[in-house]
Symmetry: C2
Subunit: 341 residues, 2 copies
């Protein structure tokens, strides 16, 4: 049960290998339409499909794009992933996955493996890799050495440093919107559940939170900040602490942690939004499932996915290193989880 090769098509059609190759190729060439059609017919009858490893060996790249991902259990992550995959598919590209928990850091080895597979580009979809310090430097060097087009999420400096294109969200603005919403509702002690403070995307949100506070002439109080890790669990853990600080509202830096809040609210006899107002961040589809739908910040997940894919295709097709930085502005989605104090 051997795979049919170009040789078989050549033999079956009576033409030479090179003519077959040319005839099957997309780009116009010398072969007459008649010959081309004849050959294509035979190729398809034989169920011929070019060995991509041979093609890749020649052309130096395959129709695959590597993607470095965070945990797909986070629905926002999953949604961006799906969009990228769908968009890329339109151009005949497939994704090779490389998931990383932030714990077991992506090693240079694994990245090199991807490159060795002949991928045509790398998508950096897990923003936490930028905050790995020395380790990120190593990864960056590997990436640079690969000379492959890069599209990264949430890191505009990728573009400034001429490493790759960037598709990001104005997290500062998003956090500002969320906080202001709470402020306008009369809350003055607003707790925050942040992500890891080492992460840039966390700091941006914190900046937005502070700016909103300033606008309302309220002093920033570090006591109201609980450092989470963007996982459900840390949202649950934050609740007793912040309650102890007498907050009347909480801004959770993502929806996931807000879910943790909801989950543990019961056990503390807290009802949202009666006793506590909550605003999340991501606008994940589960937000609407909650008995009290979660007010959140919509960050255009779909558009982000499409932009990442399209930008990658552009970089590949134009063989361009003319990197771009695309920024999406988030919007407040008012639902039921925050109310007037």
């Amino acid at each position: 049960m051997e795979r049919v090769t170009i040789k078989d098509v050549a033999k079956a059609s009576g033409y030479s290998i090179s003519t077959v190759s040319l005839a099957l190729s997309e780009k116009a060439s010398r072969v007459s339409d008649e010959t081309r059609n004849k050959i294509r017919k035979i190729a398809s009858d034989l169920h011929y499909s070019p060995n991509q490893m041979a093609v890749g060996l020649k052309t130096k790249h395959s129709k695959m794009v590597g993607i470095i991902m965070a945990d797909m259990q986070n629905p926002h992550v999953a949604s961006v992933f799906m969009t990228i995959d769908n968009e890329l598919r339109k151009y005949g590209y497939s994704l090779i996955c490389c998931t990383t928990n932030d714990k077991d850091v992506l090693d240079v080895q694994r990245l090199q493996n991807l490159v060795a597979c002949g991928i045509s580009g790398i998508i950096l979809a897990n923003p936490s890799i930028y905050d790995l310090g020395e380790n990120w430097e190593k990864l960056k060097n590997t990436i640079l050495a690969s000379n492959l087009p890069i599209v990264g999420r949430d890191n505009a400096s990728l573009c400034e440093e001429k490493i790759g294109s960037s598709v990001s969200v104005d997290y500062e603005e998003g956090a500002y919107l969320a906080t202001r919403h709470l402020l306008e509702a009369g809350h003055t002690r607003i707790g925050c559940i942040t992500g890891p403070l080492t992460m840039q995307v966390t700091q941006y949100r914190l900046d937005g939170y502070k700016r909103a506070l300033r606008d309302f002439s309220i002093d920033y109080d570090p006591v109201l900040i609980y450092e989470g890790d963007y996982e459900i669990e840390s949202g649950s853990n934050a609740l007793p602490y912040l309650l102890g600080q007498n907050v009347s509202a909480i801004f959770s830096f993502n929806d996931n942690m807000a879910f943790g809040l909801f989950r543990s609210a019961r056990s503390f006899g807290i009802t949202i939004p009666r006793d506590l107002s909550v605003v999340g961040f991501d606008d994940v589809s589960f937000d609407e499932v909650l008995e009290v739908p979660l007010t959140s910040i919509h960050i255009h997940a779909r558009e982000i996915g499409i932009s990442i894919a399209d930008e990658m295709i552009r970089l590949i097709n134009e063989d361009s290193r003319d990197f771009q930085s695309i920024v999406y502005t988030p919007h407040l989605m008012v639902r039921g989880s925050a109310r007037r104090k």
Copy 2:
């Protein structure tokens, strides 16, 4: 910025290409330990990593496994995916994704592309492809022609037909457990939100539902069956219909649709579980986030993922066609969404 090849290592070490290849290979061979170490040192200094497309062209397969997936937005699907990826990574394998909405059916073309990429095996993680009728026959033929190891979810006949190994869940038993739980709580008119009735995994659940009914001497009433599609939306749509049939409890064939139920319950003035008992299926982690945590059927998602990966590795490494069928028995997870009538 050219990639370093085996030639470079040969030149740098003073040995021939073949000796380098041998020295770098895992399997023991003629090269002395001294030479081997010398060469390995140089290779690593040069950051050499073998071009996988060249390796693949020679050896006929690469360290990649193709996976055909349903929508990752479903947290159960995402969770299985992550587990497979993590487990496969331990053996140096990566996943090439091939997501399919059931709408745009996976075409033979795309499958052939995967095969052409030199994947070492195919994971069929979207059970709906078995129910494509003629189209599944075509896919099956392509799979058979590829002669690659297959591991599929939820289709024991894969194993009987000598197509591949199967990792599945006893859906009949799971549905029986769910229904019995409701029956024991005194409910007699129990609505069902099913998946597409054409799918085998749906039929199994229906069988379990019926068996439980028989055990309690209650007649099966087709009027209580609402055909959904395993998506949130269809759960929402089911509610008004089933309410119209005067049900006091609903068994949703997956958690996703149960979420849809929760989402629309508000607008009908229904409180769960006071007015309506609900049992889901999948035991997704979001279940616990709901104000009324969802009673559900745990189907061992983690174990399924690990089994799929391990079985794939076994098939690849042993070059075996000695297929297995692994079946997991589900368990009832009692939470708050179902109560005594």
